[in-house]
């Protein structure tokens, strides 16, 4: 459990959900602070949408509690929970105009007409779609529909907003633009937002805190920086960003740590912490932390041959064979002119000891 900075607005306590034999969500607990932007990140089937559904009231937890603003809402019907929700497919009512869609929650709460007019207008301004009141959802583009869905979720001033992979259907440029817009809305309105996605880049860009999920369990909870620099295990290390894994048994440890990896080869590098010979170890190393060193530089770590160079615009990605069966991936900014290498070149690469992270599993 992470302690947020303010009083938690939402608490998940030992929440569990099983469908027959399948465990969708396995005993998770979390406190979410008022005004926080928290992302549930994980692959399909990891349970993140199920948690969202339990908060919204569409699924009933098998066990555990959901507490909103100090009250347990487990027994509360969805329509009484007063939580905003943006669906993956927007769920705009096709038979109602944009105005009627956004006005719907206000109508259900029996707001007077003038207030409805005013608030709908405000909501449309917020998502920059003023003037679209009389259109039908079918007449709007995907991005516009998505924004109307957001406006509809915001208009009734709910204390908590849920987003279920809302940007999945948009193309890349539009998605990136919307990520920033949503973040902007969050900063402006200061409402608590829980966001579900499988896109780790999206999570890193938008969140105050991220919960990495896998098979119904929380793998790690932390802010983007923590999760990237200090992944708790292999899953987090490979799900967020890219990682090289150096795995094997300790062959020797004098100045440098020598590890025997799969295939019988060895890699050695500087590592301060003492490890017993024969112990099994696993390290992860981010590709961008690796650099080229001179061939005879004693600070370098491994020698290898460049198998492949992939040009990705702002970076170059090298696949470097460091043995018969081991390949290390390295990223280098393309601006470092003159430092690029070619396919087939023999290279010597190294990294700082702090860049390495030892994993327990």
């Amino acid at each position: 459990m992470q302690a947020p900075t303010k009083d938690p607005i939402l608490r998940l306590i030992n929440l569990e959900k099983t469908f027959g034999d399948v465990v969708a969500v396995a005993d998770v607990s979390l406190d979410i602070g008022d005004g926080e932007f928290l992302t549930l990140l994980g692959p399909s089937g990891s349970g993140k949408t199920t948690i969202l559904n339990m908060i919204a009231g569409f699924e009933f937890p098998t066990s555990g509690d959901v507490i909103l603003q100090g009250q347990s809402i487990n027994a509360l019907l969805p329509e009484k929970r007063n939580i905003g929700l943006v669906f993956q497919n927007y769920a705009l009512f096709p038979h109602m105009t944009v105005f009627e869609n956004i006005a719907f929650p206000l109508k259900m709460r029996k707001f007077p007409k003038e207030d409805i007019q005013r608030k709908v207008k405000q909501a449309l301004e917020l998502v920059q779609l003023s003037g679209y009141e009389t259109r039908f959802p079918k007449q709007l583009s995907g991005g516009q529909q998505q924004r109307i869905a957001v406006a509809r979720a915001l208009v009734f001033d709910a204390p908590l907003l849920l987003f279920d992979e809302p940007l999945g259907a948009l193309d890349k440029k539009l998605r990136e633009h919307m990520q920033l817009e949503l973040k902007e809305i969050h900063t402006q309105l200061k409402r608590t937002m829980i966001y579900v996605t499988h896109d780790q880049e999206e999570a890193l860009v938008m969140s105050d805190r991220i919960v990495v999920m896998n098979h119904g369990r929380f793998e790690q909870v932390g802010n983007p920086d923590e999760l990237y620099e200090k992944p708790a295990n292999s899953f987090v290390a490979s799900f967020i960003g890219e990682s090289n894994f150096i795995e094997g048994t300790v062959a020797a440890h004098d100045q440098r740590l020598t590890i025997e990896i799969e295939g019988g080869e060895t890699i050695s590098f500087k590592w301060s912490e003492r490890i017993q010979k024969g112990e099994a170890v696993k390290f992860c190393l981010r590709p961008e932390k690796i650099f080229f060193v001179a061939d005879d530089d004693p600070g370098g770590s491994v020698h290898g041959v460049i198998r492949d160079v992939i040009y990705v615009g702002e970076t170059k990605r090298y696949a470097i064979d460091v043995g018969r069966s081991k390949t290390i991936f390295m990223r280098q900014m393309s601006t470092r002119i003159g430092q690029g290498r070619q396919k087939g070149e023999k290279v010597h690469i190294g990294w700082h000891e702090e860049s390495l992270r030892r994993l327990s599993e």
Binding site: G57, F58, A91, F93, P94
Partner: protein
């Protein structure tokens, strides 16, 4: 080049075949219309002369008006009953939990398959027990039994295609289960319900076999009146009555096409 020519020949043949079939389908259907304007006292085709007298007779003769009104009443009540019961049953079939759902679904649709004459014959005894022979109620029951399968076919198809996240959205936005049904579900399946209603109405209006057995001796429906006339003494009035049916059919098709256009407009159909 040869290949493309063969293709065209195939297409031309197909066109000719289908056109003939379309003619085959349409001509006999609308044959009654020109015949109803004949001056002669018997059925003639081509019609001889032009006279509105048979249409006049149809609209003024009590022996035609009464059955027509009875048929309309019967069809209207049947349609309402079919739609209410049918929608409820469809909801249960698509969204509910029922023991032996597959068998139940088939059972609800089965009246379409059982030969009408068998149904009529079998039901007669039960009707006699309940004193329903020759009553409006009895006929409504009979027509509902054969009308509901159509309602269920259409409405379940609509419900299967329904996007349930819309209902979840409505609940999340503050609508109770009932309000969700009224504001979201019902408006969106309404076109389907109307289409089902049209089917049921026409089915009841046209129905003859059940009527033949269960109507007793005191009342008549329009098809029954026409049937007796055809059997005993054919006058062009029957043609005039048929014309009314044909116009009703055309009206139905136009109504249904409006519904389909509306469905397309709000994006329920591609």
């Amino acid at each position: 080049m040869n290949y493309e020519k063969n293709l065209s020949i195939g297409k031309v043949l197909l066109g000719i075949l289908t056109t003939s079939i379309f003619v085959f389908l349409v001509i006999p259907t609308i044959l009654a219309v020109p015949m109803s304007f004949t001056e002669t006292r018997y059925l003639a085709f081509p019609p001889e002369g032009f006279s509105m007298q048979w249409h006049q007779q149809f609209f003024t003769d009590r022996r035609w008006i009464e059955p027509t009104i009875f048929s309309l009443k019967l069809a209207s009540i049947t349609t309402v009953v079919c739609l209410v019961i049918g929608t409820m049953a469809s909801l249960a079939l698509v969204r509910g939990v029922l023991p032996g759902k597959r068998v139940l679904h088939l059972f609800f649709l089965s009246p379409m398959m059982v030969p009408l004459i068998v149904t009529a014959f079998a039901v007669y005894g039960m009707f006699a027990n309940f004193r329903l022979i020759g009553t409006l109620t009895g006929m409504v029951v009979a027509h509902t039994i054969i009308g509901v399968p159509y309602a269920i076919l259409v409405i379940t198809a609509n419900l299967y295609r329904f996007d349930t996240t819309l209902e979840l959205a409505a609940r999340n936005l503050g609508a109770s289960a009932f309000k969700t049904f009224m504001h979201v579900t019902f408006p969106l399946i309404k076109p389907g319900i109307i289409a089902a209603g049209v089917f049921c109405f026409i089915e009841s209006l046209d129905e003859l076999v059940l009527v033949l057995f269960l109507i007793g001796t005191t009342k008549l429906t329009l098809p029954l009146r026409m049937f007796s006339e055809i059997e005993f003494r054919i006058t062009p009035t029957v043609a005039a009555a048929s014309t009314v049916f044909i116009i009703a059919a055309i009206g139905t098709i136009i109504a249904l096409s409006f519904i389909e256009r509306k469905e397309k407009k709000i994006g329920l159909k591609e």
